[in-house]
């Protein structure tokens, strides 16, 4: 029986049952949670809080004290067209990469679930890329998309110069998107496939008896019942476009050519660690965080369309 499975990943509905869990003592609870909380605090909350704090100061690049300047840094950053360019690229990247990564995973998962019984081997091949770290993927894709050695080399021989991500900004951006999508597919595929397989078999049969063909069943049955998993992948993919993209940019394009792949997350790094504009970097970090938080809140408002019933 598959009843009562999956589902309750919701922030709201899950909390009630927690206390009745296996760990009754408050103490053992904390020992289990504390290490991860410490890590998150050390590498996320504290840096973010510091970034907000520093964004209000002007820091000298080579040491020698800092000066409280209020919102001057924000003034400076927000009137810099390069910031807006990077923001705009980030937005485009956010719109394209998750859509493709989820869309393709969904197609793969639907196909895999639909009795095109893919062998264990085939499934492994789809999942393996997950074992490759973001930075290594970047290195791999630099080779794959190399204009003279990679898959487009024959194309370049026929039409010289048609594909060159080292010179053409559009090509570079496309390469970045492909790498990001390729990186995201394995995880999304696993989540979506397991979601699909948790839908009881009988439902498809009942719908077939009701006259609903395979395509219609995808729309009327599978997608609505898959919304919890779609929601999860959507949120994670979205955060991934900020977090994981950094490793890819750093190994593949370093933001080039001509800034075409200079997303905000990479710009912050360059500004802070290459140009020593620490205050500017802190300010942009604060802005990026606010933006991401706003988007995530927006996404969780979409959660009311998610159907957790099983």
């Amino acid at each position: 029986m598959k009843h009562g499975r999956g589902g309750r990943t919701s922030s709201g509905s899950g909390t009630a049952g927690v206390k009745q869990g296996f760990y009754t003592g408050r103490w053992s609870y904390w020992t289990l949670v504390l290490p991860i909380l410490a890590l998150i605090a050390m590498f996320f909350y504290i840096p973010v809080a510091l970034a907000f704090f520093w964004s209000l100061f002007l820091e000298r690049p080579f040491g020698g004290g800092s000066e409280f300047v209020g919102f001057q840094n924000y003034d400076r950053v927000l009137s810099d067209p390069e910031f807006w360019n990077a923001m705009w690229r980030t937005l485009i990247f956010m719109a394209i990469a998750p859509t493709l990564a989820i869309g393709l995973s969904l197609i793969l998962a639907l196909a895999a679930d639909r009795g095109i019984r893919i062998s264990q081997a085939a499934r492994n091949i789809i999942i393996w890329p997950k074992a490759v770290a973001g930075a290594s993927i970047g290195v791999v894709f630099v080779f794959i998309f190399n204009p003279f050695l990679g898959i487009f080399a024959p194309l370049n021989e026929m039409y010289p110069g048609i594909w060159n991500p080292r010179i053409d900004g559009g090509d570079a951006f496309a390469t970045l998107v492909v790498a990001q999508v390729w990186n995201g597919i394995p995880f999304n595929f696993i989540i979506l496939l397991s979601g699909l397989q948790a839908i009881p078999d009988g439902l498809a049969k009942a719908a077939a008896m009701d006259g609903s063909g395979p395509w219609r069943r995808i729309v009327d049955l599978q997608l609505p019942l898959l919304t919890p998993q779609l929601f999860l992948t959507f949120v994670l993919e979205f955060v991934g476009t900020v977090v994981e993209a950094f490793g890819l940019i750093d190994t593949m394009t370093q933001g080039g050519p001509g800034g075409a792949t200079n997303l905000l997350i990479y710009k912050i790094y360059v500004d802070g660690f290459k140009a020593y504009d620490l205050s500017g970097a802190a300010t942009q970090t604060a802005l990026l965080m606010m933006f991401v938080i706003a988007m995530v809140i927006l996404q969780f408002r979409l959660e009311r369309f998610v159907k957790y019933e099983r």
Binding site: M1, H3, P200, G202, L203, K205, A206, A207, A208, M209, D210, G211, S212, G213, R216, D220, L221, P224, L225, K307, E309, R310
Partner: protein
């Protein structure tokens, strides 16, 4: 309206090399309530799914009336199905669950609403139409499943163990309702179960399957009174029919140790069948000894050992309390004895 008759001709089903149904030919009467009965894994669901179109036949033909349907999709066969675990769409309201087939068929909204109301009414679901399946009890869910099946007014209604998730009382109520529903809408009903009580109470005719083959296909009373084989004899009736290894000596039948069981004339080795309720306790009959006895409220069942050690189940009206070890003597009622071939298990 009277439903279509279903004619199956040499229907086979194999999963890989595993022949689950090795060639089945039968006709299910139009408008009748037919129960497919059999032990777990005998191919009941497989047969039903082939009728429904959810499984392809490996070979053979299935006809609804004069129409060959074995190659048609489920929706083109004009039949509906009620599933064991309800299979309600969890994300849809009860109304949308029932109306989904109509929606797919493109029935206009207003008519859809009316027909859903009628179907819901007929299974007693008024007032629950806006709930989600998760907010219903098991019995209510089953009603939704039934309403969903009848809303399209199918000519063939299929049920795959629809009552097995319900408790005993609810099951009884639903049995009565299904019978009434069947009489009212007149569709050909095919009902799969492994519960012989359901089969006996619901069916006009019972198709008893074993290993994918029809063992006997007859009215319930016929199955009970004249089982075609020892398999039928033991499958139908609780407690099951007694089957005793015995020898016919021409003028009567004796146990191997010589105890005379009955004066029924027969010659040669035989399996003697007698139902527990057709055994009387009398002063000077076949001697035996009580092994165990249990009271079931309306009657009690005594398990007794015959002189040669074979066990005999006896159903008696209440009031007879036996203690283990107590001697008693019994007689087999006239006309209730059934004789089977010990080799093939077939009825003589």
């Amino acid at each position: 309206m009277t439903g279509n008759a279903i004619a199956m001709e040499d229907v086979r089903k194999a999963y890989g090399g595993n022949l689950v149904i090795p060639g089945l030919t039968a006709e299910i009467g139009g408008g009748q309530f037919t129960v497919i009965l059999g032990p777990s894994g005998c191919g009941k669901s497989t047969l039903l799914n082939m009728i429904a179109g959810l499984e392809r036949v490996t070979s053979g033909t299935i006809r609804f009336g004069r129409r060959e349907v074995q190659d048609l999709a489920p929706k083109d066969r004009g039949c509906a199905m009620v599933f064991q675990n309800y299979a309600l769409y969890p994300h849809m309201s009860v109304r949308n669950n029932i109306g989904y087939a109509l929606k797919v068929a493109g029935v206009p909204k207003e008519e859809r609403r009316k027909r859903v109301d009628t179907a819901a009414e007929s299974v007693g679901l008024r007032g629950l139409l806006d709930r989600r399946p998760s907010e219903l009890s098991g019995g209510q869910r089953q009603r939704v499943a039934v309403a969903r099946a009848i809303v399209r007014e199918p000519s063939v209604l299929l049920f795959d163990e629809p009552l097995s998730n319900l408790d005993a009382k609810l099951r009884h109520g639903m049995r009565m309702e299904l019978t009434r529903l069947h009489d009212r809408i007149g569709a050909t009903s095919v009902f799969v179960t492994h519960d012989q009580v359901e089969a006996m109470t619901l069916a006009d005719k019972v198709m008893l399957l074993n290993n994918g083959e029809i063992v006997q296909y007859a009215a319930p009373s016929e199955l009970y009174e004249n089982p075609a084989t020892t398999f039928v004899a033991t499958f139908i009736g609780a407690p099951a029919m007694n089957l005793l290894a015995a020898d016919g000596e021409g003028a009567g039948i004796r146990l191997p140790d010589g105890t005379l069981l009955t004066k029924t004339p027969f010659r040669g080795p035989v399996t003697l069948g007698i139902r527990p309720e057709n055994i009387e306790i009398v002063p000077d009959g076949i001697p035996c000894r009580t092994v165990y006895s249990e009271s079931l409220g309306s009657h009690s069942v005594i398990v007794a050992a015959l002189p040669d050690g074979q066990e005999l189940r006896i159903a008696t009206p209440l009031g007879r309390r036996m203690t283990p070890g107590e001697a008693l003597s019994v007689r087999f009622m006239k006309g209730a004895i059934r004789l089977f071939d010990p080799e093939s298990g077939k009825r003589h």
